[in-house]
Symmetry: C2
Subunit: 424 residues, 2 copies
């Protein structure tokens, strides 16, 4: 950013993807202590509770208690002016040449290997979108091969549905293969109940919100960005057989609600200014309430790898970019509130699976393997159509040729439970 200092005194921060121009927010536990808000700088977490307690964040409107909370919701509720002031102040403290933050007097700089990241916010509500036209088209072709792959509403409505906020989990949480109803082999037969066979990941980007207007008041699309605090990586784990069978007529439910993982560090929208690019053309033009004078997208390179437990060898199974998303974050948010629904600090809106135009850029295995018909070769000699037990899925994101990193989001597939509970 134009106004960001040139570098940081924190060893290794410059060029790490977590330099002074990034400073994403998370919540960490240091050596088993209580969770505290932090920012990431290089290979360190800066404990904001300690920095604030030392009187080093004298920002009007930022009460000291805000960073004493075990989640960022209170800070998110303060809005863009205070976010911005706090960011500038933290940049000044960490800038090359600054000696205000004395690491001896204020032991706030914690090596990442000594902390555990936890969920950065209490997720109020979780909405998952369907913003990639490539993804929607691919899925439409697979599930409705006879008709138009896009439903008639798709180019008018930024389609979304509510997911289960309570099962949004932090990176690193093992994800158990869910049991669920498997569709009958032929029409009219009974479904079975068994561990899901077609477990999938979905590579997504999510944004986390501030407060919004009161019930019944919309957020105009041109002001939507003021209500967006920042961005995380999202893996919307999906059970494809459960989903296929349950989704008519009310949409996905258990196929999506056993776990959704998010990355530990929320990159502020302000830090992403250098990677704002023009949005994709929308035809037909969206309705006025979704129309921006200067539509924008985020140019973030994204990739997902699968690492089987046995080999430990990671294979990149998709490489894509969020700049191609048809529906933008401001449009998602303006749409969500256009009927009067409220948002609050810590609501999560995910993009939906991000796919590009080539098979190698498809953001989930359903598309990559064409619904299981075409196995994807792995670098360890194996192959996958869907995820197997022990597979670790890792999603990474970078902007501006890795100058701004979104970090990494991992989750390992744990075997299905034995469900003795069903019979006790």
């Amino acid at each position: 950013m134009a106004d960001a200092p040139a570098g940081s005194w924190v060893p290794g921060a410059d060029g790490s993807g977590f330099g002074i121009e990034n400073l994403p927010y998370g919540v960490v536990r240091h050596r088993g202590g209580r969770p505290v808000p932090a920012i990431r700088i290089g290979a360190f977490a800066l404990d904001l509770a300690a920095v604030a307690s030392a009187g080093l964040l004298p920002i009007p409107g930022l009460e000291p208690g805000v960073f004493a909370e075990p989640a960022l919701n209170a800070f998110l509720g303060l809005g863009p002016r205070i976010w911005s002031d706090t960011r500038r102040r933290l940049q000044a403290l960490l800038a090359k040449g600054s000696s205000e933050l004395d690491p001896i007097a204020v032991p706030a700089l914690l090596p990442l290997e000594e902390v555990r990241t936890v969920l950065p916010v209490n997720i109020g509500n979780y909405v998952d979108g369907y913003a990639s036209i490539e993804h929607a088209t691919n899925v439409g072709r697979l599930f409705r091969p006879e008709g138009d792959p896009l439903t008639p509403n798709w180019r008018h409505v930024p389609i979304a549905y509510h997911g289960r906020a309570r099962t949004v989990v932090p990176s690193g949480t093992p994800v158990r293969r869910p049991w669920g109803q498997r569709p009958p082999a032929q029409p009219g037969a009974a479904p079975s109940f068994e561990p899901e066979r077609r477990l999938d990941f979905e590579l997504e980007l999510g944004f986390v919100t501030a407060a919004g207007p009161s019930l019944g008041e919309p957020i105009p699309v041109r002001r939507a960005a003021e209500h967006i605090f920042g961005v995380v990586l999202v893996n919307d784990w999906s059970a494809r057989e459960i989903q296929r069978w349950e989704s008519q007529p009310l949409g996905p439910y258990l196929g999506k609600s056993f776990a959704t993982s998010i990355s530990p560090w929320i990159v502020p929208l302000e830090a992403l200014a250098p990677v704002r690019v023009p949005g994709v053309p929308q035809r037909p033009e969206p309705l006025p309430y979704l129309r921006l004078e200067d539509p924008w997208a985020l140019d973030i390179d994204l990739e997902a790898t699968i690492t089987p437990e046995a080999s430990g060898v990671a294979t990149r199974v998709t490489r894509t970019n969020s700049r191609g998303l048809y529906w933008s974050a401001p449009q998602q948010l303006a749409h969500a509130t256009s009927g009067g629904a409220t948002i609050g600090p810590g609501d999560l809106f995910a993009s939906g699976t991000i796919s590009g135009t080539e098979a190698g850029s498809y953001g989930c295995l359903l598309e990559r393997s064409r619904a299981g018909r075409e196995p994807i070769p792995l670098d360890d000699g194996g192959s996958r159509t869907f995820l197997e037990d022990g597979d670790t899925v890792t999603i990474r994101g970078y902007g501006e040729a890795a100058r701004i990193s979104l970090g990494e989001l991992t989750g390992r597939v744990a075997p299905a439970g034995t469900w003795s509970g069903f019979h006790e």
Copy 2:
């Protein structure tokens, strides 16, 4: 209940529907004070913070702070043994002949006209079901006249979707007519954006949960009732045109998320023991994880009235009963967690619209007016196909010939906003 005392010393409580055998929980503000947990007895709210502070609730495991909270979530998290002990203790305090609760020393008994009821719990997650076979059949006939009215999954899956927890509002909150996308008049044409024309109510029953097992662990159906604290009336306000246009392929979103109203008083499941009746036969037999040895339903009479602002005359537009629901609350909860999703204190699961077999028992205007084709006459000489501005919808529920009341749930339709916001 067998062990409940015969009556209460509170004037007017016996026979009011809120006698000693009911004692539902809510949260009230007394003369603008801070919100406190309360139970309703007759025409009074009993301030539980005051009762607990006076040392009158010496229940092992019930820390005094629990009723100092502005919502019931902490109490709900304590589980059925403590709920039961608390209930018995409150019944003893309020029983005829008891003088332990001295109204002068402990001014905890507040006339209802001096209090305002607020949302009794912070709703964690909100799930709406589709449990009435009559409703699902009617809606299927209206929307898919050519095919089988029930989707092939319906008799196997207790279908549900996530609603917006943040827009669950307490009884009495005005509900603004939402703006939204209106489907194009003919295929291929553009939708418009305007105030919803087909605003509807949905008469439902909801249950509010306790804590559950950890992520990845299911709740067996036979233990599901232990995780259900109690029951509320629900009006799942619906915007039918928005819903029709947006719902493919991911289900309802904005058509349902502008407001969902719940009644002020949560009737404990324990209080509803006298109205437990055998559940309806299910054919085919559900999968084992949804099978109960003694399936039960709640015999609760339900009605909805519409009162236009101009006339002030209420017309009962539906009268139904929850005993006919095909899918039961334990089945909904066991299904919800069967894939490993967690629940927590204060999650809300609604039944979906409750319809009976006759037109007069259909639980929403979509069914009552056959999608707007048959106006319903009102007692003031007017008629309705869908709701008009100024209409108040009131839902009431009673068990055991009014011995146990669920109280009433009201909401008035406010005109759509002018949405200057869209253009500012």
